[in-house]
Point group: C2
Chain length 464, copies 2
């Protein structure tokens, strides 16, 4: 242990029970990176598993005094390296602060700690007839704090919005213009409110660069009524599936979910799980309609018609719940099925919906040119595409080709009027891409805001 | 004209056609305040009616050089003094920059200039089968730029959200970390996107304190299908109407609109328009259900049942479009009807929905104690209440009593877990109230962000 690390550990120990400090390299190593393939992680000095806001305050105060970076993390399911350690940092693990503190059914809100797991929050509020919609694929493991840090999306954000749309208020341990380590309350408990700048919205998606979130007040919805309907279409080409997406949007149809899986995904899932998926199609589109009653039936019919007119091989409403659930299972299993084939680098571009066909074409073209194996899953209705780049384990040449294709995907998305990250965040992997996307003046304003709120640059430096 | 003003006018004139400058006191006076009763307006040095972003840039550059405040304004329909002139300022009128620049039906968005009137934007996009939901009562006159500045709400934000939920991107003329007068592009055209801090969300609701918005990219929805249903309930007491609101929320019902008018409003409208309103009730609740088909019918029935169980004198679905429209006309006419009675000071508190009955009780109690005449209209479903304080013209004692009651309403809302402003903005009238509401640390962070983006403090100083 270096002298600097000893001093840090001693200072941290003055305000924390001993069991909060993680120094064992075997414990620290998995705490030092998220799930982003190939995003570099440096060596953390120490890990802290905080259990209270006061402990977080002590960590931030100590780090500010010693000039040590603080890298907050939840479950570490991020896909852009946002939670990766930087050299000599404290990794501040919030996953033990995982309580649902309050459920207020009369006001459609709940208050949770940042380490509460998304699906656990969903389950807790469901007991009160309520619903927390944001549903990233990581929902069984990812924490609300991590969801807030990245402004996580998911499947049903097509109709119901992203994490930012559900955060009413926050508590955060901040620094800068107040003393480092001070806890502040931001936002409110009312559905509307315009008193002051929207600092809650600013913190959501800031990837831990403005402070450490210690409590989140979430807006909820009533649990959806009725049984959702599923519509599935199989397409002969990727482009025709993209055209169906564009048609569905243009006709004013609003499915709750509209997902795409390409043949490579279908094959990977089928090979693993033998679900009897139609891997002959170039792509499947999966729509879920949750409008209740006859309006829902009419919408499902209209979606199937739009698919057929866009050139689907077949498009059907699923009349069987088990069958519908199997299709959504296939969607959920796509990532792990691909990971069986080798390291997966997951892309997260988002383009205007009308450009989905063009982006799908570009993905095929770029991947072919670099000789890279890809499989695409997409929140197609949002224009948010996740082409996954799969490389044989240990193949350096393939890895470099994949990284080159990854950067070209970003440029293609920008050229189509899109963004380099729809929902995974900038982290480390998208820093260059973000700089290519955004107006230089806008980047300067961002830097100024960040500096104003963290002049010592201790909050997750080098990210976002 | 003072020497300073002459120098300012000369410098402005070097980059603007002569007809853009307003020096005539008779023209300048109405440009120097909004519709907030009793919010102080100081003497502007000059008004500028800009027609292009380049002209806005010239104004901001010039004002920064000379240390002159810039007070942006649209139609001047604000209710908190946010657009009121400060001494020696340039009032920058953007109402001539009123074009709808682009409507992109395939991507459900449009691009407009800040002076475009809300209802004009609605009409333009409706021709493409699209809908821009935010509907402040000022929609026939207020501009999108003003709506963005205050994060305007309205009737249908209960179900469809506020202005912030519809702003994807902005162009703004800013200063601070970039040269004053530089134009920057913020945000995006995609439905999702997390590249960088959410500066768009930060600008929305910032009341012109961070820069001058010159272009807005708005998210749109498909035009609603089907005919909405109206449910009306008459209540013997204000508190029972509040209980109906709480019941409707608790049962998971989501009307698009849920408005309250108290007896004083009903009487004022009836006295003026002779619509045959039931002014015997202490309050009317007006709900609009827009869910299509049988689900909409079921929801309307459930809302009427909730009203009855909360103690309504009667609760009925309107079977007659003309009758339903007349009721919503009564809602729209409430403000002008009250203004016929004398100067109206409009309150804008918002409380958690379960506290609507308690807040209505407090309003009655506080008004009675101060001997102030009030009439309450409310976006009751959101907990956003607009008690209006009416004073006889020229009665100073009554005015002071009204102002005392106004401040007590704010304290009562804060004590109930609410906010001092749901949708009108802080402006001048709510500056003290905001300081009583917000965490001091949060106010410090706000100040730091504002200083970082406007170190010379020229953008609408003394507001927000």
């Amino acid at each position: 242990m270096t002298t600097a690390t000893s001093a840090l550990v001693e200072a941290l120990g003055r305000g924390l029970p001993g069991d909060r400090l993680m120094l064992d390299p075997d414990v620290l190593a998995p705490m030092s990176h998220d799930e982003a393939e190939w995003a570099p992680a440096e060596a953390a000095a120490v890990g802290v598993r905080a259990r209270t806001e006061a402990e977080v305050q002590h960590v931030v105060r100590t780090c500010a005094e010693l000039g040590v970076p603080v890298v907050p993390r939840g479950a570490g399911t991020g896909l852009s390296g946002g939670a990766n350690a930087v050299s000599g940092c404290v990794v501040l693990d919030l996953s033990r602060m995982n309580q649902v503190l309050e459920i207020d059914a009369g006001n459609l809100l709940c208050v949770v700690q940042p380490g509460a797991v998304n699906n656990d929050v969903k389950a807790a509020v469901a007991e009160h007839g309520l619903w927390y919609p944001p549903d990233p694929a990581s929902a069984p493991w990812s924490t609300i704090g991590g969801n807030v840090a990245t402004n996580a999306g998911g499947l049903c954000c097509l109709k119901y919005g992203v994490t930012r749309d559900y955060v009413l208020g926050l508590r955060a341990v901040v620094g800068g213009p107040v003393a480092y380590g001070e806890a502040v309350r931001l936002g409110r408990r009312t559905t509307k409110g315009v008193a002051g700048l929207d600092l809650v919205g600013l913190f959501v998606g800031s990837e831990g660069t403005l402070g450490v979130v210690t409590e989140v007040t979430l807006r909820l919805r009533p649990a959806p009524a009725g049984t959702p309907r599923t519509v599935v279409g199989a397409f002969p080409t990727l482009v025709s599936s993209g055209q169906a997406v564009a048609q569905i949007t243009r006709r004013g149809l609003t499915p709750a979910v509209l997902e795409l899986l390409d043949r490579a995904c279908l094959e990977a899932v089928e090979e693993w799980k033998h679900m009897g998926l139609d891997a002959d199609a170039a792509a499947l589109l999966l729509a879920r309609v949750d409008a209740p009653g006859d309006a829902g039936a009419a919408e499902a019919t209209a979606i199937a018609a739009a698919m057929t007119e866009a050139g689907a091989l077949w498009a059907e409403q699923s009349t069987d719940d088990t069958e519908a659930e199997a299709l959504f299972d296939a969607r959920r299993l796509a990532y792990p099925a691909l990971e069986r084939l080798g390291p997966v680098l997951t892309e997260d571009v988002c383009v205007p919906r009308s450009q989905v066909p063009a982006m799908l074409e570009q993905i095929s073209e770029i991947a072919a040119r670099h000789g890279v194996r890809t499989a695409t899953v997409a929140h197609a209705g949002d224009g948010n595409l996740h082409p996954c780049l799969i490389t044989p384990p240990g193949d350096e040449v393939a890895r470099e080709a994949a990284q080159a294709a990854f950067e070209e995907f970003l440029d293609a998305a920008i050229a189509l009027g899109g963004t380099v990250t729809g929902e995974h965040g900038v982290g480390i992997l998208k820093r260059d891409g973000m700089r290519r996307e955004l107006d230089p003046g806008s980047l300067t304003l961002q830097g100024a805001v960040r500096h104003a709120l963290d002049p010592r640059a201790i909050f997750n430096p080098g990210k976002g």
